[in-house]
């Protein structure tokens, strides 16, 4: 069970949270100018890396706030917790291999 540091409540057990999957996905629009392929990518295509994964989590049984987490998918180490409006901390990927 992960220990996740909610930016508002501090470290809490994973069972208080809900994972919302990959973060930083751009919602394309307006819809009239979006191709079927682009829309399909938005709906279904996900990265699924072995390594750092930028994902969004909700403190569902707590403050009910969403935030971003950079989690290593193989070791489950959480390398960063950052706000929804912040860019992915891609510099953490340097040398962060198994």
């Amino acid at each position: 069970m992960l220990l996740i540091s909610c930016p508002w409540c501090g470290p809490r057990e994973e069972l208080e949270f809900r994972c919302g999957g990959e973060s930083h996905i751009q919602r394309p629009g307006p819809c009239e100018s979006v191709s079927d392929e682009r829309w399909s990518d938005y709906l279904f295509t996900r990265k699924n890396p072995k390594g750092l994964h930028y994902e969004r989590w909700l403190h569902a049984f707590g403050c009910r706030r969403w935030f971003n987490v950079a989690r290593h998918t193989a070791t489950h180490r959480i390398e960063a917790v950052y706000a929804m409006h912040e860019p992915a901390p891609i510099h953490l990927e340097q040398g962060n291999v198994l």
């Binding site: 919602r27 819809c31 979006v34 929804m84």
Partner: protein
């Protein structure tokens, strides 16, 4: 009851003042407080404790701890009958009842032992290969019935299980030499320490090995260390507690055995087990090591035991497994057993050492006790049907039989790396001890002592002391002054790795519990199942309740040698949760029965109960399905309640309906995106029905939105959508439209909802008294005022098709208003209405029930909402509805279905069928809702039908099971198409 014949007159860590009586296979025996079931059986001279899994070979106790593979027992009786308990872990108590598993009628005379006579025809994979023709499934049932060990009780589990959380700075797993040193050092620094021990006492091997630590006798040192730990205010020791899981981020699962069967039967509040979910900043794994058997023909006879276990029983429990013992070893440790047994007065017939050069000092010790030593020798065969009688020893080219009743074997020790492996750590094969040791850590833990391959007491003390101090120091607790405890150890001679002794024929067992022998591994290699994971699945090696604790490394090494690889190269299988078998109740904890998912109660629950409501679980709420009168059937109550609404007035408790306040300058813009239809054009004081979609265009909820002010809406959701939709809105606002100035406040349970519905609804409200102008409050209108002098929000919305007033009041005022309305409504024939009638009424009206009429593929277009595509702005799900597949006219559409004969109710789930070009019946849709309308006196049904909107008037056939039905496709609204009644 007789005197225990194999109990020594003195010694042992048992309380001779507290004798215990227990029953084994229906006979009564005696033991002492401090005994395990296994030690008591040994003290009573019982050697045959069960039959093996596959061949039903006689088996005796092998080990003294969790690794036991043979002594599986059925413990207790009735509902407290527990299968496959390891006798080595069962603490003895007065009145204990146990019997062996996997044998009938008894362990001595087992009918299925005929399997052993034909064992050479039952190799690995035998069943799968043999029972292929014509179909495995023909045989599967019979074979599965013959397999298995204990029997699961068919009664409900009467035991109580508890669970709790705990947090600590340093968790130390294992209270042996290294664990005690580590925990004491960590506790001294002031850190919060949890020391976890699976045994009923601390000390590890100090319980049965004679050691001197800091000048004290080992057992005494252990007790003193434990007292010092317990005296620290923030340190705790958990005995009888197994750490079964090591999960992410240093979280551990522990299972503590609290009460035994007898105690739990006496006191229903006594938990049988307590599950601990522990989060530790640092974990120190002092889990010790498990002895390996040697692999030679006949190594599974009752009387062949692990050397450490023999010493354990003799010294700790004063129970001698046998009178004449032969030792067989490839390392120094077994010599300790020989010396201990001799010093306790037992006969040691010989020590057989595979190594050609026995350690000189130990050889001298044997010599001084006149114990024969046979270096460079091996045991190649054993004799004895239900108990060991003799072993055949080969030295050079010569061999001879030696008479004995016990063979204590040692193939070296495997560090207990299970938890380390669960934590994600990588192992490395260490030739020095011929076993796997922890190599690279992934989590914040450290292995110490025997768990890391350090077997001497001095090393264990030093590593434990260092890890305890360093771990607490790293998290901010300064180390107390002091030095590591000291012990003087002799230098151990190297082990001679020896994985398999080819003997004089017969099966040499590797995995006792699964009856996997060396020949099965050879067969697996021969048939190309060479990877360790394949080997495991093909032979079942390392499976079942002991999970290969004694067998794994031997098997991997044998496979390695068969395939010309080193042990390290062939690799190992992954160790998984749980470390030892756990009762399912430990996972459930107290969350069983009524409190598994407690039902929520309506604010007027008390009244409903008085009225004799039939409660059912609707989306987690206990809601009245109907209010049956004395002698009234459920269906009749539903019909009566529905007619009351159509002809007079009914009251419905709709309190679980979702209520979400949406407020802010961007509230209207936000709702235009969330709803498929437009909400920004709604006038203040008006109500509008809307559909919400997900990004696939699929309907996820429906309900009405009310505009309370320009920047303030009240969003109504279905009862099931209350929590989900509030979370859905938050996700969009927090993750996508961060620039919107809107707040979302779920207020569902703050309000109670009483719906007054029917032609007399207005009259009832007027009589009850309200300051709201009822004539001005038209359908889809909203007003704030007082009803019976209670502050209320009143909505004119209808789910029944009759004029309806949905009255929202503070939750605590709901029951009072309900009682007033029932009293005032008497003259109008008011009736409380349950969910059953409610659903009937909406079906007559053709109102959509999301989740009943729709599923996870139903889009807004499928239910006839094409007009939303003309909406200028964006909304969630819009782009998906533009896809060609979503635009197809042959998608399932929401329609009404009228039975052709006007009498037959169509079954819900019946398929609308038609023949395709080849003449095969294909489904074109199905019935989603169906009732018999007491008002229209006809059956009424709703459903989804391919291209249904273009097929109104068409006759269709329906099929449910073997029955066929005939219906006409009609508009979904059966009752009051013009809406005259709800506008009244």
């Amino acid at each position: 009851m007789s005197h225990a014949p194999c109990r020594l007159a003195t010694g042992g860590r048992i309380d001779r003042k507290k004798p215990i009586t227990f029953s084994w296979e229906g006979k009564t025996y005696s033991g002492y407080e401090g005994d395990t079931l296994a030690s008591a059986l040994i003290a009573n001279g019982i050697r045959l404790v069960g039959r093996s899994f596959k061949y039903h070979r006689p088996r005796g106790i092998l080990a003294a701890g969790v690794e036991e593979s043979n002594a599986l027992v059925q413990l207790g009786a009735g509902g407290r009958d527990t299968p496959n308990m390891r006798a080595t872990e069962v603490r003895l108590y007065d009145g204990l009842t146990a019997k062996p598993v996997n044998c009938w009628p008894s362990a001595r005379f087992d009918v299925s032992s005929v399997n052993n006579l034909v064992s050479r025809f039952l190799p690995a994979g035998f069943y799968y290969k043999t029972f292929m023709w014509p179909d495995w499934h023909l045989y599967e049932g019979i074979i599965r019935r013959a397999a298995g060990l204990g029997r699961v009780s068919s009664h409900a589990d009467p035991d109580r299980y508890e669970s709790r959380f705990a947090h600590c700075d340093v968790a130390v797993i294992g209270a042996g030499v290294a664990g005690l040193a580590a925990a004491r050092e960590a506790a001294r620094s002031g850190a919060r320490v949890l020391l976890i021990e699976q045994d009923q006492a601390v000390g590890g091997n100090l319980l049965y090995d004679r050691r001197i630590i800091d000048g004290l006798e080992g057992g005494f040192w252990a007790e003193k260390a434990a007292r010092e730990i317990a005296d620290c205010p923030d340190a705790d020791i958990l005995l009888n507690t197994v750490a079964v899981g090591y999960h992410d981020h240093n979280s551990l699962t522990l299972v503590e055995q609290v009460g035994n069967e007898a105690e739990c039967a006496r006191d229903p509040r006594m938990p049988r087990y307590r599950t601990w979910l522990v989060r530790a900043k640092k974990v120190i794994l002092a889990t010790g090591a498990i002895e390996r058997p040697l692999v030679f023909p006949g190594n599974d006879r009752p009387g062949v035991m692990l050397a450490g276990a023999v010493r354990h029983y003799a010294w700790r429990y004063a129970a001698l497994p046998g009178e004449k013992t032969v030792l067989f070893t490839n390392n120094d440790d077994a010599y300790r057993t020989a010396l201990t047994l001799h010093d306790l007065g037992a006969t040691v017939v010989a020590v057989v050492d595979l190594r050609t050069e026995a350690p000189a000092d130990l050889a001298g010790e044997l010599d001084s006790r006149s114990i024969p030593l046979l270096p460079g020798s091996a045991i190649i065969q054993t004799r004895g049907s239900k108990s060991l009688k003799a072993v055949q020893v080969r030295t050079g080219q010569k061999s001879r039989w030696i008479s004995c009743d016990t063979l204590a074997m040692s193939g070296g020790y495997n560090p207990t790396v299970h938890l380390f492996s669960q934590s994600g750590g990588q192992l490395r094969f260490d030739d020095r001890i011929a076993s796997y040791v922890p190599d690279r850590s992934v989590q914040d833990e450290i292995s110490v002592g025997a768990a890391r391959g350090a077997f001497s007491t001095g090393e264990c003390l030093a590593q434990g002391f260092e890890a305890g101090g360093a771990s607490s120091e790293a998290i901010g607790f300064p180390r107390a002054a002091g030095t590591a405890p000291q012990s003087v150890d002799r230098a151990e001679s190297p082990i001679l790795a020896c994985w398999h002794i080819a003997g004089a024929g017969g099966k040499a067992f590797v995995d006792f519990q699964n009856d996997v022998s060396t020949s099965d591994i050879a067969l697996s290699a021969h048939e190309s199942f060479r990877s360790v994971e394949h080997l495991k699945r093909y032979t079942t090696l390392g499976m079942a309740s002991d999970q290969g604790k004694t067998s794994n490394v031997n098997a991997l090494a044998i496979m390695a040698s068969l395939t010309g690889r080193s042990v390290g190269e062939s690799g190992h299988t992954r160790y998984r949760f749980p470390y030892t078998p756990i009762a399912l109740g430990t996972l459930a904890g107290r969350y069983r029965g009524e409190i598994f998912r407690p039902l929520r109660r309506l604010p007027a629950h008390g009244w409903h109960e008085e009225a004799g409501a039939l409660f059912e679980d609707f989306g987690g709420w206990a809601r009245p399905a109907c209010y049956p009168r004395a002698g009234e059937a459920r269906h009749d109550a539903e019909r009566r309640e529905a007619l009351a609404v159509r002809n007079g007035v009914g009251l419905f408790d709709g309190s679980p309906l979702g209520k979400i306040e949406v407020k802010g300058p961007d509230a209207a813009r936000f709702l235009d995106l969330i709803y498929a239809n437009t909400m920004s054009t709604l006038k203040v004081g008006k109500v509008r029905y809307g559909l919400m979609l997900n990004e696939q265009g699929v309907i996820i909820d429906d309900g009405v939105a009310t505009r309370l002010a320009d920047d303030h809406f009240l969003v109504g959701t279905s009862s099931g959508g209350a929590d989900r939709i509030a979370a859905w809105m938050e996700e969009w606002l927090q993750c996508e439209w961060l620039d919107f100035d809107v707040i979302v406040a779920p207020v569902t349970t703050a309000w109670g909802v009483i719906t007054v519905t029917g032609p007399q609804a207005r009259a009832l409200l007027a009589k009850t008294g309200t300051d709201i102008d009822l004539s001005a409050l038209t359908h889809m209108g909203f007003a704030i005022g007082r009803v019976a002098d209670i502050e209320a929000r009143v909505f004119r919305v209808s789910y029944t098709g009759e004029a309806s007033f949905e009255i929202n009041v503070a939750a605590r005022a709901t029951e009072a208003l309900w009682r007033i309305l029932m009293n005032q409504g008497e003259e109008f024939g008011v009736a409380p209405v349950g969910i059953d009638a409610w659903d009937l009424l909406r079906t007559e009206k053709g109102y959509l029930h999301i989740g009943a009429d729709t599923d996870g593929t139903t889009t807004a277009l499928d239910v006839g909402w094409a007009h939303i595509m003309k909406k200028k702005n964006e909304f969630v799900g819009k782009r998906s509805l533009m896809r060609p597949q979503d635009q197809r006219t042959d998608r399932p559409n929401f329609v009404g279905l009228a039975a052709e004969d006007g009498r037959t109710r169509l079954p819900i789930g019946a398929h609308i069928v038609a023949e395709d070009a080849s003449g095969t019946l294909r489904s074109e849709g199905y019935v989603t809702s169906s009732v018999f309308s007491p008002t229209l006196e006809t059956p009424v049904a709703l459903g989804m039908l391919r291209g249904g909107r273009e097929r109104l008037g068409e006759k269709v056939r329906l099929r449910s099971g073997d029955a066929m039905f005939h219906a006409v496709v009609v508009d979904a609204t059966f009752y009051d198409k013009e809406g005259a009644r709800l506008n009244a």
